[in-house]
């Protein structure tokens, strides 16, 4: 039996009495006090997440930019030093290897941040595609601990711990400096739909930094947040989860992520297949669903239209901020009209849902 991996913050989770689960081979906190309370705290105050299990791959060398342009669907030439971009990485057939954040230090030095469950696969994929490029690839995941402070109070709390002017760190930009005297990379990014920061530091200093942030934010009501709330938060904000909305059998176009696919930038892995799909008409579409009858739609539940199977639920849950049962579903494109009703098969029973705009939650300006 293989043992579960633990981040450098594991002892902190134990101290806080977290309920621990197996998350893709990692022993991680799913909740500390309760998913709903944690979720609401992030939306109204701020919450601290351990995301150290995510992967970091370093790309260096003179061909870094052309290599990344070939590897990723988005146009990497659009970002400057210290800027970050969201992108997909596709197979030649158009399915998704992973969704990633690419951090540019300078034209010959980038950092790719990837999903925890895909780190090894992604590294192997990069290596297999880098053959004709002058690049050095390094899996740096074990060198980084990562935590995310997310919520409307995130900036004011973090500002107390750093002399970096956080008002100057704009959305999807990063800086290197010190937080609580710990050398960090700090980016204004996140996976909750709220304002916030992701902080990368050495694993040895992670516990200290975690404690300092919680201590500093205690009066304002900052809480540690588990993976349960992380999922409900990202889902309400329509942020895709690899394995649900995207995967080897779902293209970025089907998942409604066409904005991150730049056909005019030149060739990239999956370009031909995706262009063909775009020209023929994307066969399936990701839609937002709201339950009209009592029930909760969950991942993989079949979707039907008048008894005919038309797709499946990618993610679904009770949404704490909206106080509704909602879902995202991948369905045959011809049924994807706003306002249409369809049936979710919940343990053999057909329960009605309606197609609604999928941007369920957008944070107030």
């Amino acid at each position: 039996m293989t043992e579960l991996k633990r981040t450098s913050l594991f002892a902190e989770h134990q101290k806080l009495g977290a309920k621990l689960i197996d998350f893709g081979g990692w022993e991680m906190p799913v909740q500390y006090v309760g998913v709903i309370e944690e979720h609401k705290t992030v939306r109204s105050k701020a919450g601290l997440f351990d995301v150290s299990h995510m992967g970091e791959i370093e790309i260096k060398g003179e061909d870094s930019l052309p290599f990344l342009q070939y590897l990723l669907t988005n146009d990497v030439s659009h970002i400057a030093d210290n800027q970050i971009q969201y992108s997909l990485m596709c197979y030649p057939e158009g399915g998704v290897v992973d969704d990633v954040l690419i951090y540019r230090f300078h034209p010959e030095h980038f950092l790719l941040v990837v999903n925890a469950s895909n780190t090894d696969k992604d590294f192997a994929w990069l290596e297999s595609q880098a053959q004709s490029y002058k690049v050095q690839l390094k899996n740096r995941s074990q060198d980084y601990a990562q935590m995310a402070l997310q919520g409307p109070l995130a900036q004011q709390i973090l500002q107390k711990l750093t002399s970096m002017d956080l008002t100057q760190v704009k959305y999807y930009w990063f800086e290197e400096g010190e937080v609580a005297s710990v050398p960090c990379l700090l980016s204004r990014t996140g996976y909750t739909g709220e304002d916030g920061f992701e902080v990368y530091c050495s694993p040895e200093q992670a516990s200290y930094l975690w404690q300092k942030i919680l201590e500093t934010g205690r009066e304002e009501g900052v809480m540690p947040i588990g993976l349960g709330a992380r999922d409900t938060l990202r889902f309400e904000a329509r942020l895709p989860l690899y394995g649900n909305e995207i995967g080897p059998d779902i293209t970025p176009l089907e998942a409604g992520l066409g904005n991150f696919v730049k056909f005019t930038k030149g060739d990239f892995l999956g370009r031909d297949a995706l262009l063909k799909q775009k020209e023929k008409g994307v066969p399936r579409k990701l839609v937002g669903l709201e339950m009209i009858e009592r029930g909760i739609a969950r991942s993989h539940y079949p979707l039907q239209k008048e008894g005919k199977e038309i797709g499946f639920v990618t993610s679904g849950s009770y949404a704490p901020t909206l106080n509704k049962n909602i879902a995202l579903g991948l369905i045959a494109a011809e049924y994807a009209q706003l306002g249409e009703t369809l049936e979710v098969m919940i343990r053999g029973k057909a329960v009605k849902a309606q197609i609604v705009p999928s941007q369920f939650y957008k944070r107030p300006k």
């Binding site: 309920k19 998913v35 309370e37 009770y318």
Partner: protein
Amino acid sequence: MNPVELKYSKTHEWVKAEGNLVTMGITDHAQSSLGDIVFVELPDIDTTIKAGTAFGTVESVKAVSDIISPVNGKVMEYNQEVLDSPELLNQDPYGEGWLVKVEVEDLTVLEDLLSAAEYEAFLAEEGE
């Protein structure tokens, strides 16, 4: 901690018999294990429930759980409050979080259920 006047099942339900009318719910341990409860499904009035089979479901944010009936009987009443406010199950599983009231003919099955002390010992054994 678990009320002494109730009887308990190994699948974490509790029962209270008042004559032939048996009230049922889930235990404090069950609601705590499930986490925040967001949805409950209960049977209609006049439904026949069979001992050892599921008569409803309780859903937390992450999971769906069957509620198993310890008795045979006919549903006389179900708790609409819990359907409208599932969090009652977390807040007051033995009081306002009751689930159904069932008319039971053969009450002898209750003797096979656990007392509060026996239930607590069972939980300790299971390492919970």
